[in-house]
Symmetry: C2
Subunit: 341 residues, 2 copies
C-alpha cells in the first residue's frame, strides 16, 4: 500500500529531518505533501532528486491523506490535528499538545509500539530528552520495578529550532572575535550554559523538566515513578545528553545493565572508559541509535545505577521516532503485525 | 608587614589570574617573584604598570620567600613544596598533590578558614567544581546534618588550561566553517559534551568525580557524606556550573535555603525564574561570588533540595580562593585574627 503522506511544519529542523528519513528509509509514499505556516509557504524542499513545493496549510490540505506528520508547535497541532483526523489521516504529532491526554498514546516504538495495535488516529511523539532516557531505562525493566530517577540534561541548541542554531553560530563568531554574544529571546547560547528550557511552572521546575517527569511515567507505564530533572541547554548544535541515576527493585549492577542494553533495538552501548569510550553528542549526531555508557554502581547509594546517554535529538529524539511510528502504523495497516524498529 | 611572594606556574591560566588578583586586591607584597617551568621561563608578565620576568624554578628560587602560591601540576607541587617550606614560605597549593593528606588543611576561607589559626605551612586549595558546590552547601549546615548529595557538573574548558581553550577555539572555527573539530589529547571540546575529566578510577568514576567526593567530605567536615558525581566538560571558555541535589537532616526548603545563602559571604543568590534569573557561567565569569539559584523542593524526594550553581573556575574555583587563603594567612601573621573574605 502506498500512503498519501503529509508533513506539516516541513521547513523546520524536525520537519526537514522527517522528510530526509522518509526518503532514505523508503517509507511507502509517492510524493509527500509539504505544509507550513504562511511564512514558510512558497519555499521548496529537496525530495528524490527534485524539489517539492511547500504549501500553506488550510482546511483542504489533508484531503485524501492517510498519514500526517506534525512538526509544528502546540498551537499548530491543536488547530490542525482535528482537521487531518476528520479527513481520515492518522496524525503523528511531535508537539506536546496531546502528549498528556489519557486517550492519546505516547509512543517509542521499541518500548510501547504495541499501542499501535488499537489503531489510534492520533499518536503523540515524546520529548527529545525523554526518548533517550526511557530508551536506556526500558530494557532494564524486565523482572524489575523502576522506582526513581534523577537526571540532569545537556541539551543541544537545535532542540530550540533553526533560528536558535543561527543565534548560537552568531554568538560563537562574536565570542571568537572577543565580543560578547548577544541576547535573543533569552540569554546567549554561545559560551554559556542555560538552566532554563520552556517556561517555568509554579513548582520551580521548567515545563521541559516536567515533560521528562510526565512522559517517562506514561511511556514506561510506571505512573508512580518518582522523577526529578534539571534540563539545561549547552552550546552544542545537535545531540542531547543526560546524566541519569535510577533505582530498580531488585537493584541491578552495571554489568547486568550493559547486557540488557546490548540486545535492545535502537540502543548502542559505548562504555569502555579505559579506551576513553563513552556517549558523546558528537558521536550521536547523525546516528539512529541512542548511545548509553558510563554505567556504574552509584557511589552515594549502592542500590542505584548511574549512567550517561547521548542521542541525536532531531532523529531518535524527534523525526526518526515519528517516522518509526509511521512505519509501524503502516506495516500494521498492510497486515504485517510488526516490523523491526 | 610586606610579604615576599612567589608564584610558581605564573604563566598558566590560574597563575596569571593569581597575579591579577594579588595586584587588584592589594595583597601586601612589593614585587612578586614569578617562577615557571623552563619552557615558560624568559617570558614576562604584567605587574603594576610594568612587566616582571618569569624565572625558571630552582633550589634557590624560594630563598627569603614568605608566601608561595603554586599553580602547576601535581608533579611540580610534589617537587617544589618541600623546598619552599624549607626556605620558610607557607605554600598554598592549587594542585591535588596534597589535598587528601590528613595533615594538610583543604581550605575554603568562608567555610573553614579557622584552620589557618594553627599556622600550617602547607595549605591545599580545593578542586574548582567542589569549591562552588561546598560554598552553596556550607551555609545550610547550621543546625542540620548533610547526609547525601548528587551532582552533575557543566565544566568549562579553561579548567583544562590555556592550550585546551585554544583547542576549543580552533574547533569552534572549524565547525563554523562546516568542518569537524579535530581531536587533541582527547575528544573535541567544540560542539560536544565530554563526560570524562581526569583519568578513570577502577570504580568507573573519574578522578575529577572522586575529587568532588573526597573534598566535599573534608572541607565540610562530614567524613561519612554520601556523594555521587558526574563531571562533564562543556564547550564554554570560563565558568563551571553544577546541578546539585542535597539531603539535610532535618530537611530544609528552598525559601530557608535562600535566606541562609543571602547572608553567606562569597555567595550571590540569583533565583527569580519569573524574571529568567538563574546562575549561568556567562554571568559568573569575572565575578568573585559563586552564583546559586533554581532552588526547589526535589520532585523525586520532597526531603531533598535541588539547586544550580555557577562560578568562575579560575577565580573562586582556583586563583581567588588561593589568594583569599594568602590574605587570611597574612592577616593572621600581622596579628589580625580574621578578615572579610
Amino acid at each position: 500500500m502506498t500512503h498519501r503522506l503529509v508533513v506539516l511544519g516541513a521547513t523546520g529542523l524536525v520537519g526537514r529531518t522527517m522528510l530526509e528519513l522518509i526518503e532514505a528509509r523508503g517509507f511507502p509514499t509517492a510524493r509527500p505533501r509539504l505544509l507550513a505556516s504562511d511564512r514558510s509557504a512558497g519555499r521548496t524542499m529537496p525530495w528524490a532528486g527534485s524539489r517539492l513545493p511547500v504549501e500553506p496549510v488550510d482546511e483542504a490540505s489533508f484531503a485524501g491523506a492517510t498519514v500526517a506528520l506534525f512538526a509544528g508547535g502546540n498551537d499548530v497541532s491543536r488547530r490542525w490535528a482535528p482537521v487531518a483526523r476528520a479527513a481520515g489521516a492518522v496524525v503523528i504529532d511531535n508537539s506536546s499538545a496531546f502528549r498528556y491526554d489519557d486517550d492519546v498514546p505516547l509512543v517509542v516504538p521499541e518500548i510501547n509500539g504495541d499501542l499501535l495495535a488499537a489503531r489510534p488516529t492520533l499518536i503523540a511523539n515524546p520529548n527529545c530528552s525523554t526518548i533517550a532516557i526511557v530508551m536506556a531505562l526500558a530494557p532494564l525493566l524486565r523482572g524489575r520495578r523502576l522506582t526513581r530517577i534523577w537526571t540532569s540534561t545537556y541539551q543541544s541548541v537545535s532542540g530550540a529550532g533553526s533560528s536558535a542554531v543561527e543565534r548560537l553560530e552568531e554568538g560563537l563568531r562574536a565570542t571568537l572575535a572577543g565580543k560578547p554574544a548577544a541576547r535573543g529571546d533569552g540569554p546567549p547560547f554561545a559560551d554559556n550554559v542555560v538552566p532554563h528550557i520552556d517556561r517555568f511552572e509554579d513548582n520551580g521546575y521548567t515545563r521541559e523538566e516536567m515533560k521528562i517527569v510526565w512522559e517517562s511515567r506514561k511511556i514506561l507505564g510506571v505512573p508512580d515513578l518518582a522523577v526529578s530533572a534539571t534540563a539545561v541547554r549547552v552550546p552544542v548544535r545537535v545531540g542531547h545528553s543526560a546524566s541519569v541515576t535510577a533505582w530498580f527493585d531488585p537493584p541491578l549492577g552495571p554489568d547486568e545493565a550493559r547486557r540488557e542494553w546490548a540486545t535492545f533495538p535502537g540502543l548502542r552501548v559505548v562504555d569502555d572508559p579505559a579506551e576513553s569510550r563513552y556517549p558523546m553528542p558528537m558521536d550521536a549526531a547523525g546516528l539512529d541509535d541512542v548511545l548509553v555508557g558510563r554505567a556504574r554502581v552509584d557511589l552515594a547509594d549502592p542500590d542505584a545505577l548511574t549512567f550517561f546517554v547521548a542521542s541525536d535529538n532531531l532523529r531518535k529524539g524527534a523525526a526518526l521516532n515519528a517516522v518509526q511510528i509511521a512505519e509501524q502504523w503502516a506495516a500494521r495497516a498492510s497486515g504485517q503485525p510488526s516490523v523491526a524498529p
